[in-house]
């Protein structure tokens, strides 16, 4: 509790004691003047001022600023109305109850704020640098790439970098939700936001603080609130009309019936006051964004960043999920498993392929170079031309070498022995004649199968895989994992087209997600309703383009996020129905004289408190 809350609590307790005293006096009949005008009015008005002076002060100030439909102003009118019709004890009670509700509400909000900020407490406060043999703490902002920092055991890693000395276990739980520590020793890349476990590390900083992982994550999460879900926009629009409409309704209720049917002004003014008390849409305006905030928080707790409420909403409606094969369903760790020779030795086939792919960083090229095992002298290679989706063409030792898939061979008019079973195949040709085949296999990621199964369980109807690989290789992976649809032998540009086709086939309330590791994926990530990128393997461009980022590349977590998003939306909808339902009911009862001020105050602040408590459930991870 803050100072402000404590002060308010004291005011509430004192007023409550006074109120009880007055009420006892009035009801027992001992103090008969309590219902009469100046004496009774004054007896109740003094505690009323004690509990409500800030409301009246704010109301007066806001009227000066032209804010007529202000909560404080409406409360003031409502209670003054009660005083005016001689219901002194009720006026005081309503103000008291209102303040109790406000205190509850403010307390609940500050608690939820606290638990959210605690959860995002991944921001490092300082970095240690060595100066004249002594460690000095500096602001991470002041550390530049290339500098060396020292991270002691138990400290948070302040900046991204590469370990140059020391060995330790690193706890990545804050970023990935995974509590299994990772080993880091000289040469390893480490990312900011994680906690250094046991040993001291010397780290060479590779990125400035504003570009570091932790700064990016914080920015993403903080900005998440500004991308609003449809429900949120609806509530904002609704709130804009709700208050004026109810207030005008109150004015009519106070004036029209007595004029038409005559008599009882007091009765109708009292009913109008009930309207005024209910006219604040606060319960909705707080609880809906709070629910989404909690949902995004819960997702980030398991290591998934959702970049906005709108995406959380979209994930809940996801029916189709499209995977890019390499790096998402498979490890992307390619290994040469077989070399078949055509018209030259196996070693020579591998050497030519390694040279041809010498400039490429594609995982397949890397695996060929790794299988070759000797240093590749790229100076032997000239006129390298990369043909996307086909392969590479190069001039090596006076011959024209082609390294690529079947399409490349066909387009160059080279007859080759087609390799039939699974795996990725690279054909090599020299001077228009077929030289040999290299078979490369990629292993399916652990958990990929479970990921697909869970996805089906949570109601994703179609799991599709896109790949540039050969049909046979793709089919083998697809049947192992239980996918519904496979599109193989695609060029990078084809992927966008396929996703667009799938998008067209969707119905209105269905959403399509695309999961990719970010190599050549950015356009598809943007095009899909929900772009999901791999955080630790993916490129910065992919993380930028994506709407959801899996921090530890674990595809199983997609199903968990679907569950979190559904729960969040359920909570948000419950809150909307509950708040509007109670308000509508009390308005109706109030208009017919069947509800009193107490119920009205409950419909205002009571509903807010319940809705906030309900919204906080979204933050919990099961």
């Amino acid at each position: 509790m803050t100072e402000k809350h404590k002060k308010m609590l004291l005011r509430i307790l004192v007023t409550f004691a006074l109120f009880m005293g007055l009420l006892a006096g009035e009801k027992s009949g001992r103090i008969i003047w309590l219902e009469e005008f100046p004496a009774g009015f004054l007896a109740y008005f003094v505690p009323y001022c004690l509990i409500g002076y800030d409301i009246i002060w704010k109301a007066a100030r806001n009227i000066r600023h032209g804010q007529v439909f202000d909560e404080n102003f409406l409360m003031m009118i409502a209670t003054f109305g009660a005083f005016g019709v001689g219901e002194y004890s009720e006026a005081l009670a309503v103000m008291l109850f209102y303040q109790v509700g406000e205190l509850f509400q403010s307390y609940a909000v500050s608690r939820s704020r606290q638990s959210i900020t605690e959860m995002m407490n991944i921001c490092p406060e300082y970095a240690n640098i060595e100066e004249d043999g002594q460690l000095v703490q500096v602001d991470p902002d002041d550390v530049e790439p290339g500098m060396v920092i020292v991270i002691k055991a138990g400290e948070r890693i302040p900046l991204d970098g590469r370990v140059i000395e020391g060995e330790s276990m690193i706890d990545t739980a804050a970023l990935t939700g995974e509590s299994v520590p990772r080993r880091a020793s000289a040469g390893d890349e480490i990312i900011s936001g994680c906690v250094n476990g046991s040993g001291t590390l010397k780290v060479k900083v590779t990125k400035a603080f504003e570009d570091s992982t932790v700064a990016k994550i914080l920015e993403l999460v903080e900005n998440a609130g500004s991308k609003k879900a449809r429900v949120e926009n609806f509530i904002t629009r609704f709130a804009r009309y709700y208050t004026p409409v109810v207030t005008i309704g109150a004015a009519f209720l106070a004036v029209i019936p007595p004029l038409l049917f005559g008599g009882g002004w007091g009765e109708w003014i009292q009913r109008a006051c009930i309207f005024l008390v209910i006219s604040c849409p606060c319960a909705l305006v707080i609880s809906v964004p709070l629910g989404f905030f909690g949902g995004i928080g819960a997702a980030s707790r398991i290591g998934v960043l959702v970049k906005g409420s709108n995406f959380l909403e979209a994930v809940a409606e996801m029916t189709t999920i499209v995977f890019d094969k390499t790096g998402t369903l498979t490890k992307g760790e390619f290994k040469v498993t077989q070399v078949l020779s055509g018209n030259m030795g196996e070693e020579e086939v591998l050497r030519l392929a390694a040279l041809g792919e010498g400039y490429s960083n594609h995982p397949i090229s890397n695996s060929i170079r790794a299988a070759y095992g000797k240093p590749v002298d790229v100076s032997l290679v000239t006129d390298v031309e990369e043909i996307p989706g086909h392969g590479v063409c190069a001039q090596i030792e006076g011959s024209r070498i082609l390294v690529g898939n079947g399409k490349l061979m066909e387009s160059q008019g080279i007859s080759y022995d087609e390799y039939q079973s699974g795996g990725t195949v690279v054909y090599v040709a020299r001077d228009k004649s077929f030289a040999g085949t290299i078979v490369i296999s990629d292993t399916v990621k652990e958990g990929a199968q479970e990921a697909i199964r869970r996805m089906k369980q949570v109601g994703v109807r179609k799991c599709v895989m896109l790949t540039g690989d050969r049909q046979e290789a793709a089919q083998a992976v697809a049947s192992e994992l239980g996918l519904d649809e496979v599109h193989a032998e695609l060029l990078p540009a084809d992927k966008v087209n396929r996703v667009e086709e799938l998008l067209e086939r969707q119905q209105k309330n269905q959403r399509l997600a695309f999961v990719g590791d970010g190599i050549n994926d950015a356009p598809v990530l943007t095009r899909a309703d929900i772009g999901i990128a791999m955080g630790s393997m993916g490129s910065d461009a992919a993380i930028e383009a994506a709407d959801v980022v899996l921090m530890d590349d674990d595809v199983r977590k997609i199903a968990s996020v679907v569950q979190i998003s559904r729960k969040t939306l359920r909570i948000v909808k419950q809150n909307i129905v509950f708040a509007l339902g109670v308000k509508a009911l009390v308005l109706l009862l109030g208009a017919f004289g069947m509800a009193n001020m107490w119920e009205a105050v409950f419909a205002d602040v009571g509903v807010s408190v319940i809705a906030i408590l309900n919204a906080m459930r979204a933050l919990k991870v099961e």
Binding site: K58, H65, S106, R113, I116, N223, C282, V285, P289
Partner: protein, 72 residues
């Protein structure tokens, strides 16, 4: 240009929504968001008249919620 500000004593969610609405209507402001939960405000506006716009933003907030301070 996009800038972020901390807000102090932003106590009412409806006021935050009203502020956001009001700020968006100031000429030169491309986008604005007031986060009640984070107690933060993000404003995207023309760079050359940012200071001028900020004065209007402060006035607008003071009108809606006089207790709330923008920490510039």
């Amino acid at each position: 240009m996009k800038k972020k500000f901390k807000l102090q004593d932003l106590d009412c969610a409806n006021c935050a929504a009203k502020m956001e609405d009001g700020i968006k209507k100031i000429p030169g402001v491309h986008d604005a968001s007031v986060s009640f939960m984070m107690q933060k405000m993000t404003i995207e506006a023309d760079e050359d008249q940012f200071d001028e716009i900020m004065k209007q933003v402060v006035a607008c907030c003071a009108k809606v919620e006089p207790d709330c301070k923008i920490l510039l």
